[in-house]
């Protein structure tokens, strides 16, 4: 009997050791993410320190960006980043919602596959291609046909008229937001489609059974059921829009100014870094650009954290109902 159990025990021990090694490896892989993240944050803070300690809080609140007098403030870039992303979201979210509803509810079955594939293909287009398209196709179109009309009709509106004033350059914050909207559309759409599909069929059929219209089913049954996923998709898109560099650089106008008009040129954090890093002379200039990077890091972090918090709260409420 012992002749049988002894090798068996040895084998057990060997497997336990293998198990331990495997566990250690997985822990290492997970720890690597944290180490890289901490390293990036550390390097950014270290690089940004000269600028932050010189300009103090003013770095966040000043619009100036002057390499000649060596005065730097991030407000214009921060403003441009937030505004272009907001424009992108205002355009992309309703569109993505429409596409997702069409694909999951109203679209004939044979057409669903091709349309879904096309939208995913849109996500595969490199961002530089969007930039070139924005500059060569979209910008002249907007300058000659769209913006003059917008300026004529909206510039005298009370309250929001100032958003549409100024010469039609074709490029600017609005154009950048528009290009970003097209770029984030596939991300938001595919997430929304997936979560809409996960709504239990019985729930929808029950709603139809008591006489609900298609709109009521979508708004009152499908959407509440997939809230978490929808918000996740929107945040994914927003994260992409905030950090997008090449496409934005082409069409945003690269001007470190805050204008009240959406048609005016502006800049974003990532566009400024991409444009100026190679030629930045002097420690403070370089450090200010690194500080911009740190700011984008923090901004993205805050948005992801806020999304998580929102989700957690929604889930809690869902559980208590």
């Amino acid at each position: 009997m012992s002749a049988v159990t002894l090798p068996f025990k040895r084998q057990l021990r060997r497997e336990a050791r293998a198990e331990q090694v495997f566990r250690a490896l997985t822990v290492c892989s997970a720890a690597l993410v944290l180490i890289v993240l901490a390293g990036v944050l550390g390097a950014l803070v270290h690089g940004a320190w000269p600028a932050l300690s010189t300009f103090k809080f003013g770095f966040l609140t000043r619009e100036v960006w002057n390499p000649v007098t060596i005065q730097f403030g991030a407000l214009a870039a921060l403003y441009g980043t937030v505004i272009t992303s907001l424009i992108a979201m205002v355009i992309a979210v309703p569109l993505a919602f429409g596409i997702a509803v069409f694909l999951t509810e109203t679209c004939p079955l044979w057409l669903r596959g091709p349309i879904a594939t096309c939208i995913e293909l849109l996500a595969a287009v490199p961002s530089i291609v969007f930039g070139i398209w924005g500059l060569f196709v979209l910008a002249p179109l907007l300058q000659h046909h769209v913006q003059p009309w917008v300026i004529d009709h909206f510039e005298d509106l009370p309250g929001i008229g100032h958003l549409f004033r100024g010469p039609p350059y074709g490029i600017g914050l609005a154009t950048a937001g528009f290009v970003l909207a097209i770029m984030v559309l596939p991300f938001i759409t595919s997430v929304m489609r997936e979560v809409f599909l996960s709504t239990p069929r019985s729930l929808k059929e029950a709603a139809y059974g008591i006489g609900a219209t298609q709109w009521e089913v979508i708004w009152d049954v499908v959407l509440p059921n997939s809230r978490a996923g929808v918000i996740g998709g929107i945040m994914l898109g927003l994260g992409r829009a905030l950090g997008e560099t090449m496409a934005v650089t082409f069409v945003v106008g690269n001007a470190h100014r805050i204008s009240s008009s959406l048609l005016a040129p502006g800049t974003t954090i990532s566009a400024s870094i991409a444009n100026e890093f190679t030629e930045a002379l002097g420690p403070l200039y370089t450090s200010s650009l690194v500080a911009l990077g740190l700011l984008l890091f923090i901004l993205t972090f805050i948005i992801i954290a806020a999304a998580r918090l929102l989700l957690a709260r929604l889930e809690q409420r869902g559980a208590s109902v």
């Binding site: 390499p67 350059y169 690269n254 444009n275 030629e279």
Partner: protein, 354 residues
């Protein structure tokens, strides 16, 4: 099983030896290479020179066109044999960092416009007017200030879109240096540097970016290097120079500006060729500079100097083919005298005095 493992090990070892041998061989070849980094403006001619020089001597030049700022940073960190910059460093900055600089090639920045019905060279502009456009004081093409310079042209009531280089660049430095010289308001509000805070207009990246933006935007004005104007047939404007004449951009006009500069009296070859006197001088002309450490341990320094000497004496024709202006022979003599008197590698002189 064991047999195959052994075979694998032998095969791997063989492959590794072969790889290391190859690496060793290429390492030997690379020791000869001259490495440089910096300004994008002279990059095309440096590449052309390097190609011809390699054919003749077998010595290769590895030049990274990463921008003037990057070139200055890299030579200060001594990661390259030479740095290149379109903006000359002030003599005291050179001294602080233990560097020498000299002019290598001359070129110019040209204002270009996108105006329906206006042919290249038809539009006349002067420095103060361009400064006012870029300050945002003149916003329409039919502004009296522009119309006064162009009594024969019918200018439209169109918004001007001033386009500038968003990336730091030597072209920016030349352009803002010229505008600061002719407009006190521009000097005070904007100043002169490789990148500045523009009060109006839109930015684009690189010469290509500015050229495309001007071509895409109706009513635009921008500034690009001369080669771009020649190659893309853009609508350039004629400029009023310091002597009061309107000149068209050309190699002769740059040459005239360079000839009027007094290099002998410029310490550290600090010389910006904007707004030079002379009836035929182009007002936005500038030299591109090479930077080297006064004291270095870089064994490739002599090879680099030999290359520059070759480019000065045999590279003129290639330069002219690419629409650059070579440095005058009198200046070359001064530069090479500076090499003999100033440059030391491991304490030894590297260029024989003539």
């Amino acid at each position: 099983m064991k047999q195959t493992t052994k075979r694998w090990i032998v095969a791997m070892a063989g492959a590794l030896t072969a790889l290391s041998l190859m690496a060793g061989a290429s390492g030997v070849a690379r020791a000869q290479d001259i490495s440089g980094a910096g300004a994008t403006f002279p990059a095309p001619i440096y590449a052309k020179w390097a190609e011809a020089y390699k054919q003749q001597t077998g010595v290769a030049l590895n030049y990274q066109s990463i921008g003037s700022g990057g070139g200055i940073k890299q030579i200060e960190a001594a990661t390259v044999t030479f740095g290149a910059s379109d903006m000359p460093l002030m003599p005291q900055v050179l001294q602080q960092n233990g560097l020498v600089q000299w002019p290598m090639i001359i070129g110019g920045a040209i204002p270009v416009v996108n105006l329906a019905g206006v042919q290249p060279g038809q539009l006349l502009l002067d420095g103060p007017t361009i400064a006012a456009i870029y300050l945002g004081d003149i916003t329409r093409w039919n502004d009296p200030a522009i119309q006064k310079l162009n009594p024969r042209l019918k200018l439209p009531k169109q918004d001007i879109a001033p386009i500038y280089r968003a990336d730091g660049s030597g072209t920016n430095f030349l352009f803002t240096n010229f505008l600061s010289k002719v407009s006190p308001k521009f000097a005070q509000q904007v100043g002169s540097n490789t990148s500045v805070q523009w009060p109006a207009g839109l930015g684009a990246k690189g010469n290509e970016g500015v050229a495309n933006q001007v071509l895409q935007t109706a009513g635009a004005i921008g500034y690009v290097e001369y080669a771009y104007v020649v190659q893309t047939h853009m609508t350039y404007a004629r400029l009023r120079n310091a002597a009061g004449y309107y000149v068209a951009p050309s190699a002769q006009a740059f040459q005239s500006a360079a000839a009027n500069a007094d290099w002998a009296k410029a310490p550290g070859f600090y010389q910006v060729l904007t707004n030079e006197p002379g009836a035929t001088s182009w007002p936005i002309t500038g030299a591109s500079f090479i930077l080297l450490h006064v004291q270095s341990h870089d064994k490739n320094t002599t090879a680099a100097l030999k290359f520059f000497d070759w480019a000065y004496n045999h590279g003129q024709q290639l330069a002219q083919q690419l629409d650059y202006v070579p440095i005058p022979a009198s200046v070359v003599k001064m530069v090479e005298a500076k090499w003999s008197s100033a440059l030391r590698v491991d304490g030894q002189a590297v260029w024989p005095a003539k």
